[in-house]
């Protein structure tokens, strides 16, 4: 349990190596993803996309497509706008209307203009080729800084400006701190447009049940309030839509939010009175699926003293959300809850600007904007160290919030729950065998290679709350992002838990079974966890914001404790003793003063289910509990000056990679990777380590390989897996992880979140390593991804033209 649970704790199941409940179906090919769900009479969808970055749609001719045998229907934006409501944005943005298909105007290359429904996907594609669209190209804007300028071609003419959100937050005496500081420096960091790109695309199947007035929906979804939004768009009551959450989702990491796909398919299923399925193909996903990530320019100024202590920073973040913003501008809001990282920075200013461009829409990506922000913060620490000639580890140690200073209030109004950053960094440095690592780097340099060690010490805000919604949108006063769990014990004594969300690899069944097993002292392997559908479900806000260990784990604890309380009341009544005399052991209850008085688990269950005469008077019969949990620290509105408690819990990670760069090709090889991680109590060590390593791999992609690059005409250049480069087993090195446990005071077992682990520090760490490698040449790179062509160009410019 070392590093996985607080010292002295003695969990039976939590923090122990246990097999993951979900895995058996996956290793035997019995996962059930949306493309595996098939219903009789199901029809298939293909879409056609605009080839233009911006164009008026003058005419769409569908007759040839409709004449193809096997084609059921062709629909366009006009059909959609007549029958559905626009999809919601996170902000109130007048004039930006978002529908499942383009209406009159296409606003990015790849936007869906028409959809074909046919007997098979093959036939649908045949017909899609025959749809004729007359486009009249319009001016467009691709570069976010150009979009920010007044007079740039409007993406949404009814909104006038391409600026969707702009606000400057000032926390503390920033100007004073800058005046008082010994030094200041400034720099720009560019975070490239990448995303999570799951191996499964988005898919959705809808069937209108005419006899019940219910739209059944199976989707590879990970999205808060999906069914509410879908019902609203389809002009249906919430209880006319049944989203089946028992569909396995083939990866999401925030991005599986196919609301447009789902509105389209829901509309088609009702209109055509036949089940309709749309499984995006890879080309549709990349160009039109609306699943790109942040695309952000940071301009940073840092004020610091000669001892390396950072007093203040000014951060300006300009984010390109692409065409339809959805919730994307809010990704500039969440990082406010960790805007100073793990450091005692006394004041800061943050200007958040969201612009729209004629590109594919942005969606929520793992970390909700925190990974790019962490690159800006960590670059600042490296720059300060470099400027002062102080060791990069030492600068961090001098600025860390100390273990004894928690709870710690940062300038933006968020209180960090707990942490021990110096110890985690020390453990990571020890794991890396730092002196040997330095010697290895220096030996590589001596051979004429470029080599560098990266350092990043980053926060993972967790327990996802809605606090950025009222902060960014005055019309939104949401202050809860609750999560629920139901437990029922059947007559035979087995335990079933019901959760209200789908899972995309986080292992929620294992999480809930482990927590309930721990609380009730019952073997988690015997506990079944069921994904409800939206009609049977209690409130959930889905697994976003590294929240499920906290929120679903907390809800499961709460429900289990209610069960345990019920059992205790039954025993107390039957023994006729106060509850505090009772001993609970593995589900059996004994009178501590008279051990002959004992009721086994099965006895207690039978009393609850069958023997009401033995129940405490007034009890509810049966054995079941529902617990709906408010986010700890939640329930508060932001202050008028923008201070807010963003998330409740703060995990921490320290990264130390070693890289070497081939000067001829600019290619970066990661030779070693060490990470120290603290997410409080680790409920399932295998799951947390897996997510951490996976997050690092994803971060390596964002740092070195992955970019949805557009050309000057607004054409996506990285529309296939041959051009959008995700790291393979060759590019991701062996990763050594050390865990540390600083429990959170806000959660039942001290757990914090870990869903974004690894990804929140890896891009910063790789950037740090590459820059350490370039430093001896006096070079620096702050544009991600740092592709081999970018690095080589820097080196070539430095060495000048060769003979």
């Amino acid at each position: 349990m070392d590093g996985h649970a607080p010292h002295g704790s003695n969990y039976r199941y939590v923090a122990r190596k246990r097999r993951t409940k979900e895995d058996k179906r996956f290793i035997t090919g019995r996962g059930r993803y949306v493309a595996d769900v098939s219903v009789p009479g199901m029809k298939h969808v293909a879409v056609i996309a605009s080839p233009h970055a911006a164009a008026r749609i003058a005419a769409i001719r569908t007759a040839k497509a409709l004449a193809v045998p096997g084609v059921v229907a062709v629909v366009t934006g006009a059909d959609i706008v007549a029958a559905t409501n626009p999809m919601q944005h996170g902000l109130d943005i007048p004039g930006v209307r978002w529908y499942a298909l383009a209406v009159d105007r296409a606003r990015y290359a790849g936007e869906w203009v028409a959809a074909v429904v046919a007997d098979s996907r093959y036939v649908a594609e045949d017909a899609a080729e025959l749809i004729e669209v007359d486009y009249e190209p319009l001016p467009f804007v691709i570069d976010p800084e150009a979009a920010f300028q007044p007079g740039s071609p409007p993406v949404h003419p009814d909104h006038k400006s391409n600026v969707l959100f702009q606000r400057r937050f000032v926390y503390g005496d920033v100007d004073g701190d800058f005046r008082r500081a010994d030094h200041t420096l400034s720099f720009r960091v560019r975070w490239g447009r990448s995303s999570t790109v799951p191996i499964e695309t988005f898919g959705v199947l809808a069937r209108w049940d005419e006899g019940r007035d219910v739209l059944d929906v199976w989707a590879s979804i990970q999205m808060p309030k999906f069914h509410d939004q879908l019902a609203g768009c389809l002009r249906l009551g919430g209880n006319n839509v049944r989203v089946h959450y028992d569909v396995d989702v083939g990866g999401s990491y925030g991005t599986k939010r196919g609301i447009a796909h789902s509105v389209l398919v829901g509309f088609l299923a009702r209109k055509l009175r036949t089940p309709v399925r749309f499984i995006e193909d890879r080309l549709e996903y990349m160009a039109g699926g609306g699943a790109h990530g942040p695309d952000r320019i940071f301009d940073m100024e840092v004020a610091f003293n000669r001892d390396g202590r950072v007093l203040s920073h000014r951060m300006r973040a300009l984010d390109d959300v692409g065409c339809y913003p959805g919730r994307s501008p809010l990704q500039l809001g969440k990082p406010i809850g960790a805007i100073v990282g793990p450091y005692k920075i006394g004041s800061c200013a943050y200007e958040a600007i969201s612009v729209t461009t004629n590109k594919t829409s942005q969606v929520a990506v793992r970390g909700f904007g925190q990974a790019p922000t962490n690159v800006a913060i960590e670059t600042a620490m490296d720059r300060v160290a470099g400027f002062l000639g102080i060791d990069r580890l030492e600068v961090r140690r001098r600025n860390f919030i100390a273990k004894g200073e928690f709870p710690y209030l940062i300038p933006s109004g968020t209180t960090y729950d707990s942490g021990d950053y110096p110890t985690v960094l020390d453990k990571t440095v020890a794991l890396s065998r730092w002196p040997e690592l330095l010697a290895k780097r220096d030996a590589l340099r001596a051979e004429g290679r470029l080599a560098g060690i990266g350092i990043a010490t980053c926060l993972e805000p967790s327990g996802g709350n809605s606090a950025f919604e009222p902060l960014f949108n005055p019309l939104n006063d949401t202050t809860t992002w609750m999560e629920s769990c139901q437990i029922k014990i059947d007559l035979g004594g087995t335990i079933t838990a019901i959760i209200a969300t789908s899972t995309s690899g986080q292992g929620h069944e294992t999480l809930v079974a482990t927590v309930i097993g721990e609380e009730l002292e019952r073997d988690p392997d015997t506990i079944r966890v069921v994904h409800s559908d939206s009609l049977g479900a209690f409130p959930s806000n889905s697994p976003v914001g590294s929240r499920m260990a906290i929120m679903l784990g907390g809800a499961a604890s709460g429900a289990a404790r209610q069960i345990r309380a019920s059992l205790t009341r039954i025993a107390a009544h039957n023994f006729n003793v106060p509850e505090d005399r009772l001993e609970y052991e593995s589900g059996a209850i004994t009178n501590r003063n008279n051990t002959a008085q004992k009721l086994a688990w099965d006895d207690l269950v039978r009393i609850a289910h069958r023997k009401y005469h033995l129940m405490p008077p007034g009890s509810e019969p049966g054995l079941q509990a529902t617990y709906c949990w408010e986010v700890p620290t939640g329930g508060k509105m932001p202050t008028p000056d923008g201070r807010v408690q963003m998330y409740p819990c703060f995990s921490f990670e320290a990264h130390v990679p070693l890289v070497a760069i081939d000067p001829a090709s600019g290619k970066v090889d990661i030779l070693a990777y060490f990470v120290g991680h603290d997410c409080g109590t680790v409920i399932s060590p295998d799951i947390v380590r897996g997510i951490t390593c996976g997050g690092i791999a994803h971060g390596i992609g964002a740092a070195l390989y992955e970019k949805f690059e557009y050309d000057a005409n607004g054409q996506l250049l990285a529309g296939t897996f041959a051009d959008y480069l995700m790291p393979s087993a060759h590019e991701v090195p062996a990763i050594a992880v050390t865990e540390h446990c600083t429990p959170s005071p806000h959660t039942p077992m001290g757990q914090k979140g870990s869903g974004e682990a690894g990804y929140l520090g890896a891009p910063a760490a790789i950037a740090s390593a590459v820059n350490d490698a370039l430093a001896p040449l006096g070079l620096a790179i702050t544009t991600l991804p740092m592709r081999l062509k970018d690095i080589e160009a820097l080196l070539a410019a430095k060495s000048g033209p060769k003979p």
Binding site: F26, I27, G29, C693, I696, A729
Partner: protein, 160 residues
Amino acid sequence: MTDRRDIRLTINGRVHAACAAPRMTLVDFIRDELGLTGTHIGCEHGVCGACSVIFDGKPIRSCLMFAVQADGHAITTVEGLEGADGTLSPLQDSFWEAHAMQCGYCTPGMLIAAHALLAENLDPTEDDIREAISGNLCRCTGYQQIVEAVVHAARRRKGG
């Protein structure tokens, strides 16, 4: 041109007689015609490896073949890795033990790639393993626990 052809092929030891249009890919055939949905589709252009199957003893990508080409051949999919009585293969069990997956979507392809490696390499190094699975993209795991699972399976076979 779209007429359907009769084909016979052996899948997981069972002979299937079916028909398919020439343009139907092998992966669509396996999934949609035979109902073996363990083999997944990730990119349909031969990069991600989610559709890997064993074809005449060798791992291949089933999105890069047409079903008619498989007429007369033998294929093993993920469903064919376990014993007839449902016993997990040592490799499958090692994947479970090491939690070598998260969402499970790439898992069948990874199992196929690793299965093929272990069939011809008794004692693979970590480099061998990474090479063998390098044509299969995983977005969840960072490959670490997958590599560990294959090492575990190889060790188990050696009785180590």
